[in-house]
């Protein structure tokens, strides 16, 4: 079996008539962090959301091409989006904890899946919150509303919530762009912790962030994948002129 956990081949996505992704070929090895960068409107979010089929929610979207997850076609007619999203979790730009307690937020997925064992749930809560590097801050008020937390803490609780259902892949769409610098760097530290155990794909408009945390970086422009390589190479020695222009701040 190949090391590739997720592959996309010739992926096109249309919003109505408008082609937002124009034939993306991009594969991901298991584990590690891949950053998706590019000017806004170039299709990063769109691409990310095809990977756990969140675009299914939008009317008039047409998708062609193939995406496979562990060798299976994500868009096969009998593919189960609910199962897919358990394996491929997602964290959004705006922290979106449910208006419940911290504890309930973290175990919500498991509880709905039918897990009742209190000890097991407690253990998962602690483990997930520790992994998300927010345990020490919230452990004394697990049963208070998650909405009372700061934005950065909320975002880490959202990461814990995803970790609790033990996905293989975690998608993050600009998870720090609504946060202050301190919270952002805490999130970055969290992701660096997780990179050994999860396949992480993060959209960011912050180039420094990509260079700090990503093993690999993919540069998108106008719905196309321009270049993907080790982060070092993208930033120090890009193969394409467009990448170089973008990195050096000449546009976008």
């Amino acid at each position: 079996m190949s090391k590739e956990i997720l592959t996309t081949q010739d992926l096109h996505l249309y919003y109505g008539e408008k082609e937002a992704l124009k034939g993306i070929n991009l594969n991901f090895d298991a584990k590690g962090i891949t950053a998706l960068i590019g000017p806004s409107g170039c299709g990063k979010s769109t691409y990310l959301r095809t990977l756990n089929r969140m675009n299914d929610l939008i009317p008039n979207v047409t998708i062609t091409g193939t995406i496979t997850f562990k060798g299976e076609n994500l868009y096969a007619p009998n593919a189960d989006t609910v199962e897919i999203r358990k394996e491929i979790g997602m964290v959004f730009q705006q922290p979106n904890p449910f208006p419940f307690s911290i504890y309930d937020n973290v175990i919500y997925g498991l509880r709905i899946a039918g897990e009742k064992d209190k000890e097991k749930l407690d253990a998962v809560v602690e483990k997930s919150l520790r992994q998300a590097a927010v345990w020490d801050e919230v452990k004394d008020h697990l049963h208070e509303s998650a909405l009372a937390l700061s934005g950065g803490q909320q975002q880490r609780v959202c990461i814990a919530r995803v970790l609790a259902v033990s996905p293989e892949i975690i998608l993050l769409d600009e998870p720090t762009s609504a946060l202050d610098p301190v919270s952002s760097s805490q999130i970055e530290a969290t992701l660096l912790n997780l990179r050994h155990d999860y396949t992480i794909i993060i959209v960011t408009h912050n180039l420094q962030q990509a260079s700090r945390i990503a093993d690999r970086t993919a540069f998108f422009m106008n719905g196309e994948l321009v270049e993907v390589d080790q982060t070092k190479n993208i930033f120090m020695n890009p193969a394409k002129k467009q990448t170089e222009d973008y990195i050096s701040g000449r546009f976008g």
Partner: protein, 294 residues
């Protein structure tokens, strides 16, 4: 300078208007309570009404009001909830949903006396339900359904897209997302809508005059078999409510203490509605807690 002054004047005017509204409300409440509360007694609240003698009470009317309210809510709430969930969470915008929405819009702006007349013609006459609790409850459902549906839909709308995406992205199905994330999050707001509509239903008279009827036969509160004619639970008996009673006393009351009974009934009506608000708020909080930590 000039704009600063304009601003000050505008703010002053707004405060004035707001103050005026509060003042009017307080004056109304004060007047009703001041003239009504002295009439209240245990006897007044429990005794049956008297047609042309002094000293009647509103016990039966009070019971009828609550019974009708509960029945009407029991019928309209599940329908409104289902309709709102369908319209907001599932239905795509097309001519079917547009038609439903327009229908709801029109229904909600019908004067309640028209709803009452429709109820009379359809439930009382056509379906031969007679002047009965059941006719009244159906009429109230018609009256209540559109507003309740709209208010629940508005409650669902206040839960933003991120919450829905959060649920789905966790691997919850659409239905689980609606029932386990969206609804609990919307409970306080849904409950507020339910309370408001309960208050309106409780105080409604016009829709009931020709459906639940204007007579309140004495009830035997020891008999809870809904099939007996004097049982309070019998849904086929005519049932004048408190609001209808007030209307009736004021238009054709011939008992010597009509004025006092009308004031007393108004006070009871107002107090009941205020009580609704407070208890429901409390219940809402409790319910929210239970739903979110079950």
């Amino acid at each position: 300078m000039n704009s600063k002054r304009q601003n000050k004047i505008a703010i002053g005017a707004l405060y004035g208007i707001a103050g005026l509204v509060v003042l009017i409300l307080l004056a109304l409440l004060g007047y009703i309570l001041a003239s009504g509360v002295p009439q209240l007694s245990w006897h007044f609240l429990t005794a049956p009404a008297k047609a042309f003698l002094k000293g009647g009470g509103v016990g039966v009317q009070l019971f009828n009001s609550f019974y009708l309210l509960i029945l009407a809510m029991a019928i309209s709430f599940p329908i409104a909830l289902g309709a709102a969930i369908y319209l907001y969470e599932y239905a795509r915008d097309n001519w079917v949903t547009t038609t439903i929405r327009t229908a709801i819009e029109i229904l909600s702006s019908l004067p309640s006396v028209v709803v009452g007349l429709f109820g009379f013609l359809f439930f009382v006459v056509k379906l031969r339900l007679g002047f009965s609790i059941l006719s009244g409850a159906f009429a109230l459902t018609f009256f209540n359904l559109p507003l309740l549906t709209r208010s629940i839909e508005d409650s669902l709308r206040t839960i933003n897209l991120e919450q829905r995406e959060g649920g789905l992205a966790l691997g919850l199905s659409r239905w689980e997302t609606v029932t386990r994330v969206i609804l609990p999050a919307a409970v306080p707001s849904i409950l507020t809508g339910v309370i408001l509509s309960a208050g309106r239903v409780f105080g409604e008279a016009a829709a009931l005059i020709y459906t639940a009827g204007q007579s309140a036969p004495a009830l035997n509160f020891a008999d809870w078999n809904p099939f007996n004619i004097s049982s309070p639970l019998n849904p086929m008996r005519p049932a004048e409510t408190l609001a209808v009673h007030i209307w009736k006393i004021n238009s054709e009351g011939i008992m010597p203490d009509a004025k006092a009974i009308s004031s007393g009934s108004s006070a009871v009506l107002i107090i009941a509605i205020l009580l609704f608000n407070f208890t429901a708020r409390y219940v809402g909080k409790r319910l929210y807690k239970r739903l979110t930590s079950a």
